[in-house]
Amino acid sequence: MEKLFVRTSPYISSRFATRKIMLDVIIALIPCIIAGVIFFGWGTLILIGVCCLTAFVSEFLFTLIKNNKWNWEAVKNSSATDLSCFVTGILLALNLPASLVWKSGQPGVISLANIWMPMVGTVFAIVFVKMAFGGIGKNFANPALAARIFMVVSFGAFMGTVGTNNIIGLDAVSSATWLSTRNASAVSSQWFNMLIGNKGAAAFGETSVIAILIGYIYLSVRKVIDPRVPLIIIGGVAVFAFLFDALPNGSSFSEMMLLVAGHVLTGGLMLGAVFMATDYSSSPNTFRGNVIFALGIALLVVIIRVFGKTDEGVSYAILIMNILVPLIDKYIYPRAFGRKRATRGAK
């Protein structure tokens, strides 16, 4: 008789799998991609394609070179096949301005002259932020976010806010982001455009609040992310924006509320809260840790936006909190069921 299968209990397993989770994230990003195409034209698809391809090739080559095995078995076992590199690729692309594939001075006219920039950014994300630290689950920061900051520092002139160039015939919006003026009357006149995404953006994926919310609902229903964490970040930003921006600068209560709404609806906040701050490896593992993490992000976002030199602060805020995650995880962990606080611990 052939040998029976033996392993440690349990013998059955849930539907969750790394690849399926990554696929769910990619599906959740589709509305954002569609919104990007609608408001910034077809060039955005080129950006996504280039980033995904570069991400896959660089992770694939990295694993092969690292293991120094060049056979079919190694190809099959490469971590590039778990789809996480595509998530990084798409997220990085969504974080880039659509103008990277436009001819300078001619919005909407596609030109591939600068296409090497997203490629360099993607290689940085995969090789230096993700794989060099041990690959999936081990990276200290969100690779897409770190690469975006790397690109802002390196190619700052190309990474500014651009206006929409939409393909559905809406009035195109000029390039300034609301955060540079923080003008309450602009919110009351532009709130519908802000919601659907017809607004100037430095990252074409952040433009449509509605598209991101669809992705958020999908991820929550599929139990990929903890739905409370993005809510805490957004709610935290609303509260801190009220305290630091609306209270000192608003003249009436309705104006204060409009300012708070402007903070919540513009910039990379939604995209960052839903897709970046919920990244598994660069966020804390406990809910209590996540609350600290989320509130920290919210506070930093508002401080950078209101008191900082740049208009936009979500990526810096998340990156700073990413670096604090090991510290949070070191001190915030639950007390075992039936243990008293005083008797806990090894020493």
């Binding site: 008789m1 040998k3 029976l4 299968f5 033996v6 392993r7 440690t8 209990s9 349990p10 013998y11 059955i12 397993s13 849930s14 969750f16 799998a17 790394t18 399926k20 989770i21 971590s79 778990d82 996480s84 041990g134 690959g135 999936i136 689950g137 081990k138 598994y280 490896s281 804390p284 593992n285 406990t286 809910f287 995880d329 962990y333 639950p334 007390r335 075992a336 069921f337 039936g338 243990r339 008293k340 008797t343 611990g345 090894a346 020493k347």
Partner: protein, 482 residues
């Protein structure tokens, strides 16, 4: 009102056999009765080779308090007393040839027993906790001095997938169970009795309530529990029912609670009221490879092989060989054929293809794993000569489709394991510490408190073997005294 606890998972319940009435499985021609069917010391063999024993004859007697008597499940001649493998160790087994006369030799029946008589009888009849742990019931019913027990919890949760034995006995023997519970309560002198049943067994809750109402019982309450694994774990069950938290590394008696399984209560009834010692139990035989799935009274000492022979497989392993031979034959036929005979080659190839298809369907109905107990915490074995004991609540023959055969990949740090852990531990950190050999770190994140329920391994998207890291950490922390 459903009550619940922290964490937990909800695996597909797969309770295929929940509508199958309990029937008696034909006893095998030969039984192998191990002297260890409980936690604690092995019992001392009291019979010799050649002795004639009846059903219920004492084969081995308890060695101390944490041990239990072993009784003969069949009548016949003792053929051998030998060491056989059981799990990962060697255990003395008493081999008896069944003469199929079922001559019985029971203990005297007790009517209106006193507290002392009940206690003596549970010890005498070799009753152990039948939920899986196998702790001698008599020891459990004698709480340490200075401890007062005010609540008796009866565990009818049965949260493991596949298993339906407790569900069926609650439906078919409710009066007997309630009488057994009454005996246990008398022995403990408690008047607050809670029966916890998961809400996916609403019919069992209704049946018990009906009997309780018919007999005007006031101190027994049936409580519906949320269907969630591991609802039947002792500490989680006590918390769900009484909101009392059992301190770490302590027994439930610390908070005034004693937990017993429903099947244990049934066995107490048989021992006291009918004088029947524990020599058989209800076992759920299930899994994709079994043809006659069901709930059976099975004598202890019946080998898995004999159980499967009675319950039949959907397709026998010999069939695989027959088809494989046929395929070989066709292949040699194909080689002999000349290249010019195109139509013949085509015909043979088509036959070969259909045979291969048949082989794969037959193979998919073959079992690749034998599990004694549920799929979450049971023990799997390669040896089908292992036997049913007092603690075997289920025997599963699982096919490839049912078993997780995916090899583990790198942890993606999703934190799902921490979210489902009913003990509020951090399995991913314990796993990392165990791989690094840092046992102090493993202890910091609570490895010693792990109840090995397997929720973390179940939920893990990377299919990591977290439970084995837990087991290893527990062992290392205990042996090195960290």
């Amino acid at each position: 009102m459903p009550t619940k606890f922290f964490g937990g998972v909800h695996p597909h319940t797969n309770k295929i056999t929940q509508r199958d009435y309990i029937s008696e499985l034909t006893p095998p021609a030969k039984v192998f009765v191990p002297v260890v069917q409980h936690i604690g010391k092995p019992a001392i063999v009291k019979v010799n080779v050649g002795d004639y024993v009846k059903v219920g004859t004492l084969l081995a007697s308890a060695d101390g308090v944490i041990s239990a008597n072993i009784f003969s499940p069949v009548s016949g001649k003792v053929m051998a007393i030998e060491n056989r493998p059981m799990g990962d160790r060697e255990v003395t087994h008493i081999v008896i040839d069944n003469d199929f006369s079922d001559n019985a030799e029971f203990l005297p029946k007790l009517t209106n027993p006193t507290k002392e008589q009940i206690l003596a009888r549970t010890a005498e009849a070799g009753i152990v906790g039948m939920g899986g742990a196998g702790f001698p019931t008599a020891a459990k019913l004698t709480p340490p001095s200075g401890v007062t027990i005010d609540t008796l919890v009866i565990n009818g949760a049965e949260c493991e997938p596949y298993i339906t034995s407790d569900h069926r006995i609650m439906l078919e023997y409710p009066e007997q169970i309630l009488k057994g519970i009454r005996y246990i309560a008398t022995a403990l002198d408690v008047h607050n009795i809670l029966i916890g049943v998961e809400e996916n067994k609403q019919d069992a809750i209704d049946t018990l309530n009906k009997v309780i109402a018919a007999n005007n019982i006031t101190d027994i309450k049936v409580v519906g529990l949320k269907t969630r694994y591991p609802q039947g774990a002792e500490k989680q069950l006590i918390y769900a029912l009484t909101k009392r938290v059992v301190p770490a590394c302590e027994l439930p008696s610390k908070v005034g609670v004693v937990v017993n399984n429903v099947h244990t209560a049934l066995s107490v009834y048989y021992a006291v009221y009918e004088g029947q010692p524990l020599y058989r139990r209800v076992v759920t035989v299930s899994g994709g490879a079994v043809k006659n799935k069901g709930n059976y009274w099975i004598r202890t000492g019946t080998t898995y092989k004999d159980v499967l022979a009675e319950c039949k497989t959907i397709d026998s392993r010999e069939n695989v060989k027959v088809i494989q031979d046929k395929i070989k034959e066709k292949q040699s036929q194909l080689e002999k054929l000349d290249k010019s005979q195109k139509s013949e080659i085509k015909a043979v190839r088509a036959e070969l293809k259909s045979l291969e298809k048949e082989l794969s369907t037959v193979k998919s109905s073959q079992y690749i794993m034998i599990v004694n107990g549920g799929p979450m915490m049971g023990a799997c074995t390669q040896n089908d000569e292992n036997v049913i004991t007092k603690t075997s609540s289920a025997l599963l023959f699982l096919t490839e489709k049912e078993v997780n055969t995916v090899s583990p990949s790198q942890c993606i740090n999703c934190g799902k394991c921490a979210r489902v852990c009913p003990m509020r531990l951090m399995p991913m950190f314990i796993d990392a510490a165990a791989i690094a050999g840092d046992w102090a770190e493993a202890k910091k994140y609570g490895a010693v408190d792990c109840i090995l329920c397997g929720s973390c391994s179940y939920i893990c998207p990377a299919k990591r073997d977290l439970v084995s890291s837990m087991k290893k950490s527990k062992k290392m922390i205990a042996t090195r005294g960290i």
